[in-house]
C-alpha cells in the first residue's frame, strides 16, 4: 500500500486500474476530462487501451463490445455526455454487459455550467434509459472513497452483469486528498462467472437459479454468445412472446434485488439518539457533516445518514438511522431527488419509524454551500427543527 495526493478523477482512475481496467473509451467533457488525460498516460503502461471515440454514443457502444469481448471497460463523462449515453446504457443492461460509467455531476440541465457542481443526475442514473431494467449506482464522498468505489463498482458490475454508474461531482473531481492505494493482495476483485458447460450446451441468457445472473462467455472462447438488444430467449434469439419478454425483463430487475445485500452501502453519523436526521450525498455530505458536528457542539441532537449506494438504496440502514428522528432533512443541489426517494421508503416502513416530518432543503446552486450557508438556508425556510 502507498499513499498519494490525488483528486477524485485520478483516484477513480487508480481504483479502476487496480480492479483490472482493460479498456477506457471516452469523449472529453469537463469536469471529467482529467480522468481521461490521466488514464491516457497510465493505462497503456499497465497493459490496457485508451480510445477517444467520436462522441459519447460511440463511447458507450464501444464499451459494450469491449466488455463482451472480455475487457473490464469504463468511460467517464458529465451531464450532457451522460444524457447521450442513455440508449447505450439500456443496450448494456439488455445484453448484460458489465461496465462502469463515471458521471462527474455538473450544473444542468443541458450544458448548464461546465465547471460547476450539480447533483441532479440521481434519478437519471436509474431511470434514464427507457424500458424495464435495473442497475447499480454509487456516490462516494472523498477521494479515498472514489478509489474504493471504483473497485466496488467493477465488482458489482461483474456480480450482477449490469452497467454500474459511479457518481461523483465537480467539487470532488477537482479536490485532492490523501488516498491510500492498496496492493493487489489487499483487494477483493470480483470477475465474471464463467460457463461450466460445453459450448454446445451453453445458453448465454440462462440464469444461475440462485443469483439470476447468467454465466458469461467472452467472445473468442468458442461459445458464440449472441448479444441481442431485442427481446430474446435464453439462446439470445429474438422472441416477442409475452412470457419470454416478461421472464427476461423481470429477471433484469430482480437480479439486482436478490443480490442487494452484496451491493448496498451507506454511512451513519451520530444516529443513536438523533432527533434531526440530515441526509446528503457526495461533497455536500462533507460540508453538512461539519455543520452536524457544530450543532452537536451546541447540544442539538443532530445526526446524518449518507447513502453511498443510491441504486439499490440501503433502505434498512436508513430506516434504522431514522428510527428515533422526528425530523428528516434532505440537503441537495437539485430540486429534491433524495427527498423523493426517502418519502417512498418512509411510507413503506411507516411501522418502523415514529412518523417523522421530512423537509426538502433543495438548493439548486452551482456552488457547494459552506456549513454557514446551509444553516442560513435552513433559517430562511422558517422551519422549527430544534
Amino acid at each position: 500500500m502507498k499513499a498519494e495526493f490525488l483528486n477524485s478523477n485520478q483516484a477513480v482512475a487508480e481504483g479502476a486500474m487496480a480492479a483490472g481496467l482493460g479498456v477506457y473509451v471516452g469523449y472529453p467533457i469537463t469536469p471529467s476530462s482529467d480522468m481521461f488525460e490521466y488514464l491516457s498516460e497510465e493505462l497503456p503502461k499497465r497493459g490496457g487501451s485508451v480510445f477517444q471515440a467520436e462522441d459519447e454514443i460511440a463511447s458507450i457502444n464501444a464499451l459494450v463490445g469491449a466488455s463482451l469481448a472480455g475487457a473490464k471497460s469504463m468511460t467517464a463523462t458529465s451531464g450532457p455526455g451522460f444524457s447521450l449515453m442513455m440508449e447505450g446504457i439500456g443496450f448494456a443492461a439488455m445484453v448484460e454487459a458489465p461496465l462502469m460509467i463515471v458521471d462527474v455531476m455538473r450544473a444542468g440541465p443541458s450544458t448548464g455550467i461546465a465547471t460547476q457542481i450539480g447533483q441532479g443526475d440521481i434519478y437519471q442514473a436509474r431511470w434514464g434509459s427507457h424500458g424495464v431494467y435495473n442497475l447499480v449506482a454509487y456516490a462516494p464522498a472523498s477521494a479515498q472513497e472514489a478509489y474504493d468505489y471504483a473497485i466496488k463498482s467493477f465488482n458489482a458490475a461483474y456480480r450482477v452483469r449490469t452497467p454500474v454508474v459511479l457518481m461523483t461531482d465537480a467539487v470532488l473531481a477537482h479536490t485532492r486528498e490523501r488516498v491510500v492505494l492498496r496492493d493487489p493482495g489487499e483487494l477483493e476483485i470480483v470477475g465474471r462467472k464463467a460457463p461450466k458447460v460445453a459450448p454446445d450446451q451453453y445458453r448465454p441468457y440462462r440464469p444461475d437459479p440462485e443469483d439470476l445472473v447468467p454465466p458469461m462467455a467472452f467472445y473468442g472462447e468458442g461459445y458464440h454468445p449472441i448479444a441481442e438488444s431485442l427481446s430474446h430467449d435464453e439462446r439470445g434469439y429474438y422472441k416477442t412472446d409475452d412470457e419470454i419478454y416478461r421472464a427476461l425483463v423481470s429477471r433484469l430487475v430482480r437480479k439486482v434485488e436478490v443480490n442487494k445485500s452484496k451491493l448496498i452501502a451507506s454511512k451513519s453519523y451520530y444516529v443513536e439518539d438523533a432527533d434531526v436526521l440530515f441526509v446528503a450525498i457526495g461533497s455536500m455530505a462533507r460540508n453538512l457533516l461539519a455543520l452536524v458536528r457544530e450543532l452537536r457542539g451546541r447540544g442539538i441532537k443532530a445526526g446524518m445518514f449518507r447513502p453511498i449506494s443510491l441504486w439499490p438504496f440501503d433502505d434498512e440502514s436508513f430506516v434504522a438511522a431514522a428510527a428515533r428522528a422526528s425530523k428528516i432533512v434532505t440537503v441537495e443541489l437539485n430540486q429534491g431527488q433524495l427527498y423523493q426517494i426517502l418519502k417512498g421508503i418512509l411510507w413503506d416502513n411507516r411501522n418502523k419509524v415514529s412518523n417523522p416530518t421530512i423537509y426538502n432543503l433543495d438548493m439548486p446552486l452551482p456552488t457547494l454551500p459552506t456549513p454557514d450557508e446551509i444553516m442560513g438556508e435552513i433559517e430562511s425556510r422558517g422551519w422549527k427543527l430544534w
Binding site: N7, T115, S283, L368
Partner: protein, 179 residues
C-alpha cells in the same frame, strides 16, 4: 504551524497566473510534512483571464470534514477582480498575501497584510513572468511560516514538468528571500 492547528487557505487570481499549480504544490508540500490536506480547485471555462481559485483545508490531527473553505485565515490574491470576488471567504483578522504588481490597496479590515510585486520580480529578477506564482508561493511560505523552502522545492519538483524545475526553484527562492 503548531500541532493540532487547522488552517483554511484561499489562493485566487486570474486564469493563467498559475494559481491552481501553486495550490497543488503547497498542498503536496504540506502532505509530505504529515498534514491532512483537502485541496479543491475552481476555475472558469476560459483558459486565460477568468477566475481561478485554489482552496486548502489543512489539519494536523484529523482528516477534515470540510470540502470547501468557510472562513479562510490565510489568503493570497494575485489580481484585484478575484480579491473582490472571493474576499467574502476570508475571515476577520486573516493574514493576506497580495501581488502588489496588480493590487495597490489592501482591504481595510484585513489582519496582517504582506504585499510584494510577485509578477514584476518574476519578470525582472527571475527572467520569466510565468513564474510569478512561484515567487508568490515562496514569499507566502516565508511570511506565514506554514512550510519551509526545501519542502516546497521538493513538492514542486515532484509535480512540475522537468523543463520548469530550474526556473521554478529560482522563483521560489526569490520569493522566499523577498523582504
Amino acid at each position: 504551524m503548531s500541532s493540532g492547528s487547522k488552517h483554511e487557505i484561499v489562493i485566487a487570481g486570474r486564469g493563467g497566473q498559475g494559481i491552481l499549480l501553486a495550490g497543488y504544490i503547497l498542498g503536496k508540500a504540506l502532505v509530505d510534512e504529515g498534514y491532512y490536506v483537502v485541496n479543491s480547485e475552481e476555475y472558469s471555462a476560459e483558459t486565460r483571464g477568468g477566475d481561478s481559485k485554489a482552496e486548502l483545508i489543512v489539519a494536523k490531527d484529523e482528516e477534515p470534514d470540510l470540502m470547501t473553505v468557510q472562513r479562510a485565515d490565510i489568503a493570497a490574491f494575485m489580481y484585484t477582480d478575484q480579491m473582490s470576488k472571493y474576499y467574502k471567504l476570508v475571515g476577520k483578522s486573516a493574514t493576506l498575501v497580495l501581488d502588489s504588481t496588480f493590487i495597490k490597496e489592501a482591504p481595510k479590515d484585513a489582519g496582517k497584510v504582506f504585499m510584494a510585486p510577485f509578477t514584476d520580480v518574476a519578470e525582472k529578477q527571475v527572467g520569466n513572468i510565468r513564474a510569478a506564482n512561484m515567487v508568490m508561493l515562496g514569499y507566502f511560505a516565508a511570511k506565514t511560516g506554514l512550510v519551509g523552502l526545501d519542502p516546497l522545492i521538493n513538492a514542486m519538483k515532484s509535480v512540475t514538468n522537468p523543463n520548469w524545475v530550474e526556473v521554478n526553484a529560482k522563483a521560489l527562492k526569490a520569493g522566499y528571500e523577498l523582504v
